[in-house]
Structures are given as structure tokens and as C-alpha cells.
């Protein structure tokens, strides 16, 4: 029992820090750079990704375990997973438009882009491909903590970018160059956590 809990804790810490999707696996960079202008939008994006990722992780795990594996259709996993993620994103989009229209407007094109967010597809594929995540609980926790790691990364980045607004940045580094440099610095500090 204790070992089991320790295993879950490892998964959570891995998703948040040591195996952070942005800073150590380098997945989901597009929304990370695109929506990290303001902390509030970044947090909203993080929450949308968290919702999609957790839900997608659950659904894909069940589909994989109870449909694809018994029918030995595992070679279909990529296309089936993309399909499920796309439907879920559509679903989240409709729900957001109805209940939080301001967030819907702020996320703009990046919301449908979660569909092609490789962090989501990467997470669900990792779950079924890695033997470490055997049970449904482990799969859900892995996806959830990976998404929280994504949120942590994007909110941190947005905080840094908000402070950079008033910083005296050399002319040739203004705009994307300084953003990429700061992302690299944060990534380096995150790599320190895995030792």
C-alpha cells in the first residue's frame, strides 16, 4: 500500500517538476509561447488544457484497455486518440463559450489549437506505452499532474513576461528572442530539480 502511494507521489512530482511537459519533454510549446502574455489568460489556458488532458487521459485509457487491446487494434491508437481529443476540445469550446465567454474570447485561436497540442496527445500516448502506468487511477493522475505541470510552466512564463514589459531590454532582443531566452533559463532551473 505504502509503495503504491509512493508510486503515485512520484508520478505527481514527475508531472509537475522533474518530467515537466514544457521544460523537460518540450511538448506543447505553441500555446506556451502564444498565450503566456498575461497571467490570467495563461491560467485560463492551463485550466482548459488540464480539463481536456484529464478527460482525454481517462477516455483514451478506457478505450485503449477495453476496446483496442481486446480487439488487438493497438495500431489504431494514434488516430483514435486524436479523434477523441478533437471531440473533447470541441466540447470544451462549446462549454466555455456558454459559461465563460470572456475566457473564450481571450483564448481565441489557441483553444481549438489544443486539438493539435502535442502535450495532450503525448500524455495519452505515454500512458498506454509506458508500463509504469497500469491502472486507471495512475493514468488519470499522470495526465492530471502533467497538465498541472503545463499550467505551472505557462503561468510562471506569463509572470516573467509581465515583468519584462517594464524591463530595459536591448533592442535586438525585444519580442520573441527574450521570451525564448527566459524560457530556456526557466527550463534550466527546472532541470536542477531532477537531480
Amino acid at each position: 500500500m505504502n509503495n503504491y502511494l509512493m508510486g503515485l507521489l512520484t508520478i505527481i512530482l514527475g508531472g509537475l517538476f522533474t518530467q515537466n511537459f514544457i521544460f523537460s519533454r518540450f511538448m506543447g510549446i505553441c500555446p506556451f509561447l502564444g498565450v503566456s502574455n498575461k497571467t490570467s489568460t495563461a491560467f485560463g489556458m492551463g485550466m482548459a488544457v488540464t480539463f481536456v488532458m484529464t478527460l482525454a487521459g481517462t477516455v483514451t485509457y478506457l478505450v485503449y484497455q477495453y476496446l483496442l487491446l481486446p480487439l488487438s487494434l493497438t495500431y489504431l491508437k494514434t488516430i483514435v486518440f486524436i479523434f477523441i481529443i478533437a471531440s473533447l476540445v470541441q466540447f470544451v469550446e462549446m462549454a466555455l463559450q456558454k459559461y465563460i465567454p470572456s475566457l473564450y474570447a481571450a483564448l481565441g485561436i489557441y483553444l481549438p489549437l489544443i486539438t493539435t497540442n502535442c502535450a495532450v496527445l503525448g500524455a495519452v500516448l505515454l500512458v498506454v506505452d509506458t508500463y509504469a502506468y497500469q491502472t486507471l487511477a495512475e493514468a488519470i493522475i499522470f495526465n492530471f499532474s502533467a497538465a498541472l505541470g503545463f499550467t505551472l510552466a505557462i503561468v510562471l512564463m506569463a509572470g516573467v513576461r509581465e515583468r519584462m514589459e517594464n524591463a530595459p531590454i536591448p533592442e535586438f532582443l525585444k519580442g520573441f528572442p527574450i521570451v525564448l531566452i527566459s524560457a530556456a533559463l526557466i527550463a534550466m532551473s527546472f532541470s536542477g530539480l531532477s537531480f
Binding site: 483496442l68 487494434l73 489504431l76 477523441i84 466540447f91 462549446m94 462549454a95
Partner: protein, 262 residues
């Protein structure tokens, strides 16, 4: 048989997802003004941005809200504007359709070049190097940034100078915004005569730069009976409200830079 299993499995997943989405679209249905959709259908759908909104649907929403006028879309023809006005319950406004005209006649054989550009062939990039490869600082560079920007396939580059097809052009003005040399002017479609030169250089200089440039000789100004032409900054300018379209200036212009509409 083996092919049937994946097809069936995939089909079932698709069916379930489809049902979920169908239910969700009913559950999360948002009441939108039906007029918005009707107007969006009447707009050209090219999302050119000529109205100042993000796209045609954004423009339709603005029209319904009353933020934009019924004739906000520069790309619509008269019938569609009348229909939009009808939907909104306002009297249709007669609006002069516009057209883009490239004020340059410096084709490859007539303009002199500073250098041969061997890099990325876009006007924006060429303009960044000494203002362009043509000697004349005001010339159309002819690398076709406007052609790429035009949503209505109206622009083309002929012999090193861009030209708008006036039948296809709706006057949305996107080309004029992307042009780094600001050589494209949006004029009322009915304006009969245009000076196809943008150079403010003095006559003697101009002759050395381009053989098809306005030299500001004022012959057109003297010829025009309606008094519609004025030479300012060494460049002839036509007042479209006074121009009668008689064509006398077109004939008299020694440099042949004044042109009748197509």
C-alpha cells in the same frame, strides 16, 4: 473479415462522440441574433479585414450591435448592402464603390534600377534595402506583396508594376495597407482619369530615374478645362469631384503617365 473489426470499432467511437457533441451543442446552445447569421451569409466571406473588424462574422456581429454601419463592408456589391439594410430595417445608403489604382508606370523597361536583388522576393524585404531596387524612391517594386494580400484575385504584376483588375477589385484597401511604398491609392470607381505616378522628385531628376515619371511640367494643368488638375510637389493631382473625364490631359501628357480608367 479482419478489416471489418477496426472499421466497426472506429465507427462506434465516432458514433458515440458524435452523439456526445450533438447533445452538447443543444445543452450549451447560445441564443444568437438570427440576423447575425443572415448578414454573415451576405458578406463576401473573404475575411479581408477591409471593414476594420477581425473577419466577416465579426463584422456581421458589429452591424447587428449597431457598432458598424450597414455599408461597413467595402467588398459588398450594392444588392447585398441593400439586403443587409433591409435586415437591419434601415434605409440603404447609396455608396460609391471604390477601386485600387497603382500610381506607377515604371515598368521594367522604363524604370532604372539601383541594384539587382538576389534575396527574398517580396516588396517588404526589397524595400528594406535602400527603399527598393528601382532608382525612383516612389516606385511600385513589383514583387507582388499586394497580389498575395488580395483576397479577390484582383491584383497582378505586369512587367514589374502591379495592376488591379477593376472588375474583380472591390476597393477593400488591403493592398494599400500592405504596400511598403504606399503607391496604391483607393479611389472611387467612377473616377475616370488617374495619374499613374507617385514621384515627388523634380522633373530633371525624374528623367534620370525613370522614363515614365511625372515631371511636373504642368501641361495637363493648362490643358484641363474643368480645372481639376493641380501640380503639387512636382506631381500632377486630379480632383475627382471636378474631373469630367474628357481625356484631354491623357493625350497631352508628354510622359504618358495619365491614364483613362479601364
Amino acid at each position: 473479415m479482419t478489416i471489418l473489426i477496426p472499421i466497426l470499432a472506429f465507427g462506434i467511437i465516432g458514433l458515440v462522440m458524435g452523439i456526445v457533441l450533438a447533445v452538447a451543442s443543444k445543452l450549451f446552445y447560445i441564443e444568437t441574433d438570427p440576423r447575425e447569421e443572415q448578414i454573415a451569409e451576405l458578406l463576401p466571406g473573404a475575411n479581408c479585414g477591409g471593414c476594420g473588424y477581425a473577419g466577416c462574422s465579426a463584422c456581421a456581429a458589429a452591424i447587428v450591435k449597431g457598432e458598424a454601419k450597414v455599408d461597413a463592408c467595402p467588398g459588398c456589391n450594392k444588392e447585398n448592402i441593400a439586403k443587409i439594410a433591409e435586415i437591419m430595417g434601415v434605409a440603404a445608403v447609396e455608396r460609391e464603390p471604390n477601386v485600387a489604382r497603382v500610381k506607377c508606370s515604371g515598368t521594367i523597361d522604363k524604370a532604372n534600377y539601383k541594384y539587382y536583388f538576389d534575396g527574398s522576393k517580396t516588396c517588404k524585404d526589397v524595400a528594406a534595402l535602400q527603399g527598393g531596387d528601382k532608382m525612383c524612391a516612389y516606385a511600385c517594386l513589383g514583387y507582388g506583396d499586394c497580389v498575395k494580400a488580395c483576397n479577390f484575385n484582383a491584383m497582378s504584376v505586369e512587367n514589374g508594376v502591379a495592376r488591379a483588375n477593376e472588375e474583380l477589385c472591390v476597393g477593400c484597401g488591403v493592398c494599400a495597407t500592405v504596400c511598403p511604398k504606399q503607391v496604391i491609392e483607393i479611389l472611387p470607381k467612377s473616377s475616370p482619369v488617374t495619374v499613374l505616378c507617385n514621384s515627388k522628385d523634380k522633373g530633371a531628376q525624374m528623367k534620370a530615374l525613370c522614363s515614365a515619371g511625372c515631371i511636373g511640367c504642368k501641361i495637363c494643368e493648362k490643358t484641363c478645362e474643368a480645372g481639376a488638375i493641380k501640380v503639387e510637389d512636382n506631381l500632377a493631382k486630379i480632383d475627382v469631384t471636378l474631373c469630367t473625364g474628357c481625356g484631354a490631359c491623357v493625350e497631352k501628357c508628354p510622359k504618358k503617365v495619365i491614364s483613362m480608367a479601364q
